[in-house]
């Protein structure tokens, strides 16, 4: 403990100390140093109908190194999923989140597992942030038993109820009223918790969103609507889809905040602010200005509606993982080598999980008929040829 404090205050102490510390760091890559560090967010927040949270954020080495590791893990996971999809081990739809990691990680840092999260189909990293494992992710993507939905859901239907993660939804916009319903239930049960309902700039124009927002505002529900604005709804740029792309203002009577979604500390600050607001005053909208490097899904190259220059530009200027790397290095919280070692570690974790998932069996045929109902009442169900395949639902 004393050693790490020495490190953070004067990293220029002798080479021997440095090599000793790096030896220790290899075995304990996450620093346990919780000495507060003050950082400013990349840009100030912009608000609509509410006060602006401070752009000065408190953090510490432990938190920043955890952020780095978590985001590096998510990044690696999504890129590995890309390869698996091209190898045809993942089928159907696969919507990747690389570029947007700061939203999932920053949000999680601001809340507890008592708070609920619901999102759309770009859900792999949100699931990990809520405590899901890499094996559960890869096994589900490959349709195996060890998947978080036992192989029956697929990429768009990850859930983790014990961490209050409610999916994983394929119908654009549907998750927003569902999220307001979760908030309703939290208020009904007096749980003193909030729900984050995430949606994209494409979903922001859905009518049901405004219906749910109206009811949430009328009933003061602790609902936080988070628009992950990656500027493209599939292939349609925001300015072609929304008359007013200022999504944080679209709530009209509902306050909103615009946040740099590529800055994990800004995300954390905004979510902390939003949680406090929602518990006292009802719904609030957070617009996360973020970016996805991949196309909408694996079937979309992502370059027909935006330029490669734009993509590389964001990667150079705003990448969330790089931002934290620079922050860690500039504050001497770890060395470049330590960070690279962390990345190697997470890469190995991802590779190990994939190997394990590949060995995992596909669901048993009987699983075709399980979970149709929570209480099947002994009812009959049928396969394609009902004279051949029948089952009794338990």
């Amino acid at each position: 403990m004393a050693l790490s404090q020495l490190l953070s205050s004067s990293s220029r102490s002798g080479n021997r100390l440095k090599s000793l510390s790096s030896a220790i760091s290899l075995r304990h890559p996450i620093s346990t140093d919780t000495t507060p560090i003050t950082v400013e967010t990349s840009v100030p927040f912009t608000s609509h109908q509410c006060e602006v949270p401070s752009r000065t954020v408190q953090t510490n080495a432990k938190e920043l190194l955890t952020f780095f590791r978590d985001m590096a893990l998510m990044r690696r996971m999504e890129i590995a999923a890309d390869s698996l999809y091209k190898a045809k081990l993942i089928r159907g739809f696969c919507h990747l989140y690389d570029g947007q990691e700061a939203v999932a990680v920053g949000m999680e840092a601001a809340i507890t597992k008592k708070d609920s999260i619901i999102t759309a189909y770009r859900d792999h990293c949100t699931f990990i942030a809520r405590g899901g494992t890499l094996l559960e992710v890869f096994a589900e993507l490959m349709g195996r038993q060890a998947g978080c939905s036992r192989g029956k859901g697929g990429s768009m239907h990850f859930y983790k109820k014990d961490s209050n993660f409610y999916g994983g939804h394929g119908i654009v916009g549907a998750q927003v009223p569902l999220g307001c319903g979760l908030a309703f239930a939290q208020k009904y049960c007096k749980d003193e918790a909030v729900t984050f309902a995430l949606y994209g700039d494409g979903a922001a124009n859905q009518g049901q969103l405004f219906e749910a927002l109206n009811i949430s505002a009328l009933w003061d529900l602790p609902a936080i609507l988070v628009c992950e604005n990656n500027h493209y709804g599939m292939g349609t740029a925001e300015w072609r889809a929304a008359k007013s792309p200022a999504y944080y203002k679209r709530g009209d009577y509902v306050p909103g905040l615009k946040v740099d979604g590529m800055d994990v500390l800004a995300v954390k600050q905004a979510c902390t602010f939003a949680k406090e607001h929602a518990l006292k005053n009802g719904p609030i909208i957070l617009e996360m200005d973020t970016y996805r490097y991949h196309g909408h899904s694996m079937s979309d190259p992502g370059s027909t509606y935006r330029t490669r220059d734009e993509i590389t530009g964001v990667r150079q200027e705003r990448d969330p993982v790089e931002r934290i790397r620079k922050l860690i290095l500039s504050h001497d919280l770890a060395t470049e080598k330590e960070l690279k070692d962390t990345e190697k570690e997470v890469r190995k974790e991802v590779d190990d999980a994939i190997a394990q998932a590949k060995e995992n069996p596909v669901p048993d045929s009987s699983e075709l008929f399980t979970n149709v109902y929570a209480k099947g009442l002994g009812v009959e169900s049928f396969g394609a040829d009902r004279k051949e395949v029948r089952a009794t639902l338990p």
């Binding site: 239907h157 319903g181 219906e211």
Partner: protein, 362 residues
């Protein structure tokens, strides 16, 4: 002393059945009677009393006492936290209710009529029905969607459709169609207690109809099994399978048929999904002839499913082709004479039964 104790015990038991007693007072007949509206209201009341997770949500369910007065008195009793008036935004409030069910509450969503459920159908099918399966059992959805379904009187094309076949297609949903007050009480209580999404299809024209009701049905623990049809009238010459209002018409048809020496067995389906295929098939194996009756559009309907299942399971037992009586294959007209032609009448059921019995030229 004993007399006082006995008096007190009598008072206690009277207090428990007071709602039913109030009902009894309004009817002068000796047999206990209850109309469907009161049956539904009492079921909601009892289930809300028994389980604090049950809440009501819908348009006009609270202060207006319910568009059809089904939720009368419940706002006063349970307050604004448990009886929620919504704006006219079906997609929004149905989605909110499903989300609340994900969390573990037990919403009872009222659609003013099921025609309006189409605005929320994505939440019923994709958010509610399929969630337990997609999540491999993590997210169950203990929700009830209830309201009047099918034709009323003179309400025209957009307010008269029957949705039984649409919802019954979907695995993961349970679809119930009560006919009388016993059905209304028993099935609604079962639906609210059931951990799966239930679509509960009532009928506006039945709300005011009174039916005899036993003490067993009035008990607060009374519940009917989901997925079991009821033989309303035993017979041996022809099976008539119907649901909701058409059960009443089928019973009237059976009385007429009896005069012509045809003894009809009338099945009250009660449950469209799960469909009680074994009761239907057992009946057809006994009578060898089948007429299906529904108010809904004929194509891809409940009658078609019943016919298919009987042909698959009991083909050798059929002595005549299956007859299908359904609503006319047109949007519901307004003019009274055309409307009458657009819904099945008792004489249609009689005629079809006679055809099935070869008593008239097909």
């Amino acid at each position: 002393m004993l007399g006082i104790v006995r008096q007190k015990m009598l008072e206690q038991s009277l207090k428990k059945i007071r709602p039913a007693v109030a009902v009894l007072r309004s009817y002068s007949s000796a047999a206990k009677q209850m109309n469907v509206r009161e049956a539904l209201n009492s079921a909601l009341n009892e289930e809300m009393s028994a389980d604090s997770k049950v809440f009501l949500i819908g348009e006009e369910v609270g202060e207006y006492q319910g568009a059809y007065k089904i939720t009368k008195g419940l706002l006063d009793k349970y307050g604004t936290e448990r009886v929620l008036d919504t704006p006219i935004t079906e997609a929004g409030f149905a989605g909110i209710a499903v989300g609340a069910a994900y969390y573990g509450l037990k919403p009872v969503v009222e659609f003013m009529t099921f025609n309006f459920s189409m605005q929320a159908i994505d939440h019923i099918i994709n958010s509610a029905a399929k969630s337990n399966y997609m999540s491999a059992g993590q997210i169950s959805v203990p929700i009830v969607f209830r309201g009047p379904n099918g034709a009323a009187a003179g309400v025209g094309a957009q307010h008269s459709q029957c949705y039984a076949a649409w919802y019954a297609t979907c695995p993961g949903l349970k679809v119930l169609t009560p006919y009388n007050s016993e059905d209304a009480r028993g099935l609604l209580k079962a639906a609210i207690r059931d951990p799966d999404p239930v679509v509960f299809l009532e009928n506006e024209l039945l709300y005011g109809e009174s039916f005899p009701i036993s003490n067993e049905v009035l008990d607060s623990s009374f519940c009917l099994p989901i997925g079991k049809a009821k033989i309303e009238r035993k017979g041996k010459h022809v099976t008539i399978a119907a649901y909701s209002k058409m059960v009443g018409y089928s019973l009237k048809a059976a009385e007429i048929l009896e005069k012509d020496g045809i003894d009809a067995e009338v099945i009250n389906l009660r449950s469209i999904r799960p469909l009680d295929r074994s009761t239907i098939n057992d009946s057809v194996r006994k009578t060898n002839r089948l007429v299906t009756v529904e108010e809904a559009f004929p194509q891809h309907g409940v009658g078609a499913e019943i016919c298919a299942c009987v042909v698959e399971e009991s083909f050798a037992y059929l002595d005549a082709p299956v007859e299908r009586i359904a609503g006319a294959d047109v949007p519901m007209p307004y003019a009274a004479n055309l409307e009458r032609m657009a819904v099945p009448q008792v004489e249609d059921i009689v005629r079809a039964a006679k055809r099935a019995c070869y008593r008239s030229v097909p």
